[in-house]
């Protein structure tokens, strides 16, 4: 086997240099970062990108991040949560500033994706920063004018930990949002704080009989709990797409 990875990965293309155009605080530990990436050429909802950092001494670190935006064009948005022991996420959250350059390669991934051509109902279930690829689907759904019903169950520790809070508090007509607070629920919330359960999925999710496509993204424990409960509720395992995040 010969050839460089660049040649083998030809369809993804080479590393592209993006410029950070804006950074927005999403939570105490989360930032969304808008980047102009000449040559990006658009992505479908749910895809991710590799991000490469290079230190003065040439040391590099690469991680994959889900893209929170979707559609054509060279402007993308990432949303990153700082992992305390991480190497790249603390840099992106704490150090990166508007005007800085970042190297990116993508879009990547063809499984955990949604396109406006899909006509079936869609159930999104996100935990923490697992909302990011789901947000791209929500935005793609809204931008396309798709009449397909969407539902989102979004689990966060407290209201202050929610990403895209303003956007999700005024959802479009075809999107229903249910919040799950695991540590502290806001006053007036009828559901006491606690982790997501099968009862939450049954009460607020599309029933299995409708054969929705289900996208589940979050930490491993969250995804395992939700996916197992969905199968127990009768959802076909091959209609339940999962993305678990680990690493730093």
């Amino acid at each position: 086997m010969t050839g460089t990875s660049e040649a083998r990965d030809g369809r993804i293309g080479n590393w592209k240099v993006g410029v950070v155009t804006s950074i927005r605080r999403e939570s105490a530990s989360g930032r969304s970062i808008t980047i102009d990436v000449p040559g990006w050429g658009g992505n479908i909802a749910g895809q991710h990108t590799d991000v490469r950092l290079t230190a003065q001494n040439g040391y590099t670190a690469v991680r994959s991040y889900s893209v929170a935006s979707a559609g054509v064009g060279d402007r993308i948005e990432l949303a990153v949560d700082r992992l305390p022991t991480g190497e790249v996420s603390p840099y992106l959250v704490d150090t990166l500033r508007e005007g800085d350059e970042l190297e990116l390669r993508g879009p990547l991934g063809g499984w955990f994706v949604w396109t406006p051509q899909q006509a079936e109902s869609v159930q999104l279930i996100g935990g923490g920063s697992g909302i990011v690829p789901l947000m791209a689907m929500i935005r793609s759904h809204e931008a396309s004018g798709s009449a397909t019903p969407f539902r989102l169950l979004y689990s966060v520790r407290t209201p202050l930990d929610a990403f895209f809070r303003a956007e999700l508090e005024s959802p479009s007509a075809n999107l229903e949002v249910t919040w799950i607070f695991t540590r502290r629920a806001p006053s007036g919330c009828s559901r006491p704080a606690g982790r997501i359960t099968a009862a939450d999925l049954e009460a607020h999710g599309f029933p299995a009989a409708l054969s929705p496509t289900v996208f589940v993204c979050g930490p491993t424990g969250f995804v395992e709990t939700v996916a197992t409960a969905l199968v127990a509720l009768g959802h076909e395992p091959n209609r339940v797409k999962t993305e678990r995040f680990g690493g730093a």
Binding site: S5, V17, Y59, A61, G110, W111, P237, N238, V240
Partner: protein
């Protein structure tokens, strides 16, 4: 020409020669699966190698355990960029399983409970390079990590080490499996960074 990331120093330290380019070390064992975790009772479990439409070699859970079980100490590398060094496994060598199998086909499609597939050249399964793994770190394999049994092909990116392995199908040509149809490389050598299409 690389772009220097203003203010980025990284973790620093020596570059580990056991770490392929673009990987970082983890002490955890992250889980990455495309769908729900199947739960398979070992009473019902079966492993098979199909060489053509008429010929199926099968092993039950007990039959597999009657074969020599090897200790495997190896590094593993996930395409999502984590690597774990010095992991210990126990399992049955594919050399043992292929000893009674006659085939002229050079390619294999691994098929899992739950529908996952991944393609591998036969040459990469033989010669002490691949196992049906039954234990990790002294314990039986958790379902999350592919239990009751998973393929273990540590010299390739870890998506090739199919969880919940159910069987191998011989084929004359190399066909893409699940991730290979969804953006990942046909072969997946971590030392050549063969991650994507």
């Amino acid at each position: 020409m690389a772009v220097i990331s203003r203010g980025f120093v990284g973790r620093g330290g020596e570059v580990d020669p056991d770490l392929p380019a673009g990987q970082y070390l983890t002490a955890d064992f992250p889980v990455l699966s495309a769908g729900p975790t199947p739960h398979i009772d070992t009473v019902d479990w079966q492993f098979s190698i199909r060489t053509d439409s008429d010929t199926l070699h099968t092993w039950s859970w007990d039959e597999l355990h009657a074969l020599p079980i090897e200790d495997i100490d190896t590094d593993i590398h996930c395409v999502t960029r984590w690597s774990k060094l010095g992991t210990s496994w126990r399992g049955v060598s594919l050399d043992t399983l292929f000893a009674t199998v006659k085939t002229t086909d050079k390619y294999v499609m691994a098929r899992s409970y739950g529908g996952y597939t991944t393609n591998v050249p036969l040459a990469d399964l033989l010669g002490g390079q691949a196992w049906i793994a039954l234990e990790f770190d002294g314990d039986k394999l958790d379902p999350e990590h592919g239990g009751p049994a998973r393929l273990l092909i540590p010299h390739l990116y870890f998506w090739k080490s199919a969880k919940w392995i159910h069987g191998l199908e011989m084929q004359s040509q190399d066909e893409p499996g699940f991730w290979e149809q969804n953006g990942y490389n046909m072969y997946g050598d971590p030392w050549l960074e063969q991650r994507y299409w």
